[in-house]
Amino acid sequence: MAKMPVTLTLNGMERAGFADPGQNLLEFLRRGLGDLSPKYGCGQGTCGACTVTIDGETQLACLVLAETTEGRTVGTAAGLANGAELDPLQTAFMDHFAAQCGYCTPGMLVSARALLDRNPKPTREDIIEAISGNLCRCTGYEPIIEAILAVSEGRTGP
């Protein structure tokens, strides 16, 4: 079956590859474009480990057909840092011990960044709602909520 050429903007850079028929965006990003930051958790849209932004909205890469992202703008956790300069969320996740095994972390960071971009001063409830589609099975959610709150309030350090 013929592969489909797909050109998209990934973390600000134009990227192109060939998608298999029926291939999801998660596989296309990881295998086709080499961005390993979105993770495969469940393949069913339940865990949120593959959360990316498409045209600024958080979506689940495992439930998006790669070929439908032609010409669109995709953002992943790999695009959060500017070179060696981490996104404040990434620093706060370290300071607050918000990652343990780390598998949910890229998806959590994408959801958190999307929240702060549209609502820089979220309430605790806003944060809980925003990460409700991202499952964590190590730290519990408290350190993650604390890390996001700290960034929104301009606090640094643990």
């Binding site: 028929p21 029926g22 495992c62 959801s111 709602e129 589609g133």
Partner: protein, 265 residues
């Protein structure tokens, strides 16, 4: 291997679909089957911009089948649907999942369709013609054709209530979902529409509850009676979330709570 065909208009997609293909909307249900290698060999979809349109003329609201839950939440004119849309899936799923797809989502999904059933929505098909959503839901497993849009009449203030019972907060799959449209004349309930999710193979009307409410004033004694009889005639499924017995036991209690909260009691 699944081949995806994308058409510029809904009409072309409707002509192409045939009996060997499935339609893919937002993908939140169908892509799971694709990922599991269980999807039909052909998937049909469309980029038709008309599907994403929301139109409101007075109290008549028309939702394109491709309108997402997030688009509903972003539209202040659709405030009565916000408590429903907010409880569908996760933020990511709400950015993807559509009104049309929700109508065809199997148990335990399809909470939005439960609300549409209570609101007596009418569905316009791609092939033309409109039908009550109740009729479409009954035949939804037998390839009824593609949905173009859904007309939702705006309920009177305070007349519509929605409750999704789940074990995990704030995002959990439905154990039972209830939507209630309760209009009154002179304080007495007239032609209430009660719709259940999780109490049958898909969204179903609550005939016993509607009969019990007919002509009644809503008070504590009435709600206690309703709680005991509301599940009569329903055959809820057993699944990993709850048994059929449990659902039948608690359904009436949750309905009474919903009606109490609508009364502000």
């Amino acid at each position: 291997m699944t081949v995806v065909e994308t058409y510029p208009t809904l009409a072309e997609a409707a002509r192409a679909i045939g009996s060997d293909a499935a339609y893919m909307g937002g993908g939140t249900v169908m892509m799971r089957e694709v990922n599991a290698g269980e999807a039909p060999a052909r998937l049909v979809r469309t980029n038709d911009p008309a599907l994403a349109q929301i139109r409101a003329a007075g109290d008549a609201i028309s939702l394109g089948a491709g309108v997402t839950m997030s688009a509903i939440l972003a539209d202040s004119g659709l405030d009565f649907l916000h408590p429903v849309a907010r409880q569908i899936g996760s933020p990511q799923v709400r950015n993807m999942g559509t009104v049309g797809g929700n109508i065809f989502s199997p148990h335990p999904y399809g909470d939005f369709a439960v609300a549409l059933l209570a609101l007596d929505a009418r569905v316009t098909m791609a092939a033309g013609g409109a039908r009550p959503i109740e009729e479409l839901l009954r035949g939804r497993d037998h390839s009824p054709g593609l949905v173009a849009s859904i007309d939702v009449p705006r309920p009177a203030p305070g007349a519509f209530g929605f409750k999704k019972v789940s074990r995990v907060k704030p995002k959990g799959v439905s154990v039972i979902t209830i939507a209630a449209l309760v209009n009154r004349t002179g304080g007495r309930v007239q032609n209430a529409r009660i719709a259940w999710g999780g109490m049958g193979p898909g969204p179903v009307r609550g005939a016993a509850a509607e009969r019990a409410l007919q002509g009644q004033m809503i008070d504590d004694a009435m709600l206690d009676r309703l709680a005991r009889t509301a599940a009569e005639g329903l055959d809820p499924p057993t699944d990993p979330l709850a048994s059929s017995w449990y659902r039948r036991e608690v359904a009436g209690v949750h309905l009474a709570r919903l009606l109490r909260s609508m009364e502000g009691r």
